[in-house]
Symmetry: C2
Subunit: 397 residues, 2 copies
């Protein structure tokens, strides 16, 4: 028992190392874990015999000898990651290394009932199961959704913006439908896992991922692992209070960050502004249908010089930066990654967040921290889900 | 190497178990770790031979047989814990079990220079070294101070309220003076360790300790360990922003919790109120010296019916509750412990914190959480330091 655990630990460390470095030689392994040649050989042989790793080429050593390089074997198995976001469903097919092989996108119009959403998720999954771009059979599925999950059952407890969505047991539904193990994860943590393995946080042990989109979420990675909280609900920065007695929030409280700075809040404020005649430009962009205006429209109007729209983004970014400064003062990360739909589309929000962080963080804590913008775009959460499914095959989930 | 680590791990788990349960039988050990009689015997013998554990009595088993009970051996060694707080220095002498054997208290009047403070800390340490109440020789010292520590060097980086206190290498100073290993820790984390081992958090794996006093701090214990942050600075809830553009804070920013809700802020607001003639009662309590008023005076005045003082406490408690709700929404703890000088002296603050938590926490996260008031009082941080020093002897630090 004891020795088995120890060997399993060593195997897991080696897999983690290969996954993070992407390509390593036997010598790298020996050096990283102070192992002798024989032990390295044994582990490599074991992983190769299970097809989890494969030769990926050669490298010239300093001494001039060719060293074989090893990497995770993309052809071992494929995985499906599905991100049920606030405004879209994205499904991706990935291999063991996290390489994206195929992708399906579905836009969610506001008010779509739960049955349609669930049907679309299944349709996306079905398409990816038979994708021509697959490099192996699909081994498992991972789904992320907004709101809380019960990790014991895989139940999505609620999604405020989908009528009827309550206690949806995604694990049960998808396991039954596709005869594959199905995992679930919080959207922001899934995105952060993609950052950790493929994005801005490779090699980092303490970072925060801020998910600024239609809703607002956050994932905390501290001292080498996710902080999940006592009941898997950690990270609700969207419901921290930034304006006491501020506007009502979907959660039932007042003055939450999400009520003043989310894509949804920006759209709501923009619609009110159009109705009040504050932005003819925005009104034109939405063909007079104020209720259909999106944060994306506001970003476009702002870049066209609309001061009302710029002010909306400025306000949202400043509040987001204040809430993030509070989280940073509490967590002391070495890296803060800004991601989500509001980042990357418009520089105003990013600049305001950055300025508010500099203003509101403790100087000593701000100086410890690097600020980066995510480059994974809309696919981050779906990719993270795929990587999480792959983690299970690798013995890491 | 591998087996030695494994044995050390097992030993550590057994020590943790005995420390947490305080008294256990050999049968309890066997059951808790699925160990056979022989292995239990070996471990117990090893720890007993090092005098780390000792027989502490007997218990009648269900079968009627007497079972010997084992506990940590208080007489193994003693430890000194020193808490440099905002308004006091407290030194305690504890044994291996954390039992407090002796205590020395020194009140810090505002403006005392660094040299005097450091001298007093040494005097307190010297007194405890020769205490008649000692049960063994002093093995090591642990000191906590406000502000940040460099854990690598044991340097206290700064203490805003002590003139001249900057980059004080407490580890070096005390190791040289007392020829004992000296450790350092953040005040709130030291307090939280005492809660974990002797107080409200025994057996808990996810809790937050809120340190509401002259300054405001917080310790986060998540999934079985402290969250320290990338550079040991996590927990600065006192410098989260609760009122954008609010009053200036000692940290240089505006609107920090500490600037509106700390003992220091309450005293400052009370002094301004006395000067403005808003509270004759408070003026009388301080014999007309407005600048000498303390949060304690405000609490006394409030309990005597002074509405100005009650309003000050109400305001402080409401802001503290808001900031804590934000932390709770981010961390999702199963327990929040309220401690520090402002708690226990006056119910108004505790009630306002509690009400603000209920108002501002997400309902689903609030329902996961128990709220408790600390019972360790002023000694919590010093006791925690003593326990931390003891941890090192037990191989846990």
């Amino acid at each position: 028992m004891a020795n088995r655990n120890h060997a399993a630990d060593k195997r897991l460390k080696v897999i983690s190392f290969i996954r993070e470095k992407r390509e390593i030689s036997r010598g790298d392994l020996a050096a990283a874990f102070s192992l002798d040649k024989k032990t390295v050989s044994d582990i490599v042989e074991e992983l190769a015999s299970e097809s989890l790793i494969a030769s990926s080429g050669f490298r010239e050593s300093v001494a001039g000898r060719r060293q074989e390089l090893l990497a995770l074997n993309g052809n071992h198995s494929n995985f499906i990651g599905i991100d049920l976001g606030g405004t879209h469903i994205i499904g991706v097919l990935v291999d063991l290394t996290g390489t994206m092989l195929d992708r399906v996108f579905f836009e969610i119009r506001p008010g779509l009932p739960m049955e349609i959403i669930l049907d679309q998720m299944k349709t996306i999954c079905r398409k990816l199961m038979v994708s021509e771009k697959a490099t192996a059979s699909v081994r498992s599925i991972c789904i992320c959704a907004p709101g809380f999950f019960n990790p014991a059952t895989g139940t999505s407890i609620m999604a405020a913006n989908i009528p009827g969505w309550q206690d949806v047991n995604l694990r049960e539904i998808f396991t039954a439908e596709f005869s594959r193990p199905t995992y679930t994860e919080d959207c922001s943590r899934a995105y952060a896992l993609a950052e950790k393995l493929l994005g801005e946080a490779v090699g980092r042990e303490d970072f925060i991922f801020a998910d600024l989109g239609y809703g607002i979420g956050m994932a905390i990675f501290s001292d080498g692992r996710f902080l999940r909280g006592a009941n898997n609900k950690a990270g609700e920065i969207g419901h921290t209070i930034v304006a006491r007695d501020g506007p009502s929030c979907s959660c039932g409280n007042r003055g939450c960050l999400e009520a003043v700075a989310s894509g949804r809040a920006i759209a709501r404020n923009a619609a009110a502004g159009i109705d009040a005649g504050l932005s003819p430009l925005l009104k034109g962009l939405t063909h007079g249908k104020a209720e259909s205006v999106t944060a994306q429209d506001v970003a476009i109007a702002a870049s066209m010089g609309d001061t009302f729209s710029a002010e909306l983004l400025h306000n949202a970014g400043s509040f987001a930066g204040l809430a993030l400064a509070n989280a940073v003062n509490i967590i002391n990360p070495s890296l803060l990654i800004l991601g989500g739909g509001l980042i990357g589309t418009n520089r105003i929000i990013e600049e305001c967040v950055s300025r508010a962080l500099a203003t509101h963080c403790m100087r000593e804590i701000f100086e410890d921290m690097e600020l980066r913008a995510s480059k994974l775009g809309m696919n981050g959460s779906a990719l993270g889900c795929g990587l999480l499914a792959a983690s299970e095959v690798l013995g890491m989930a």
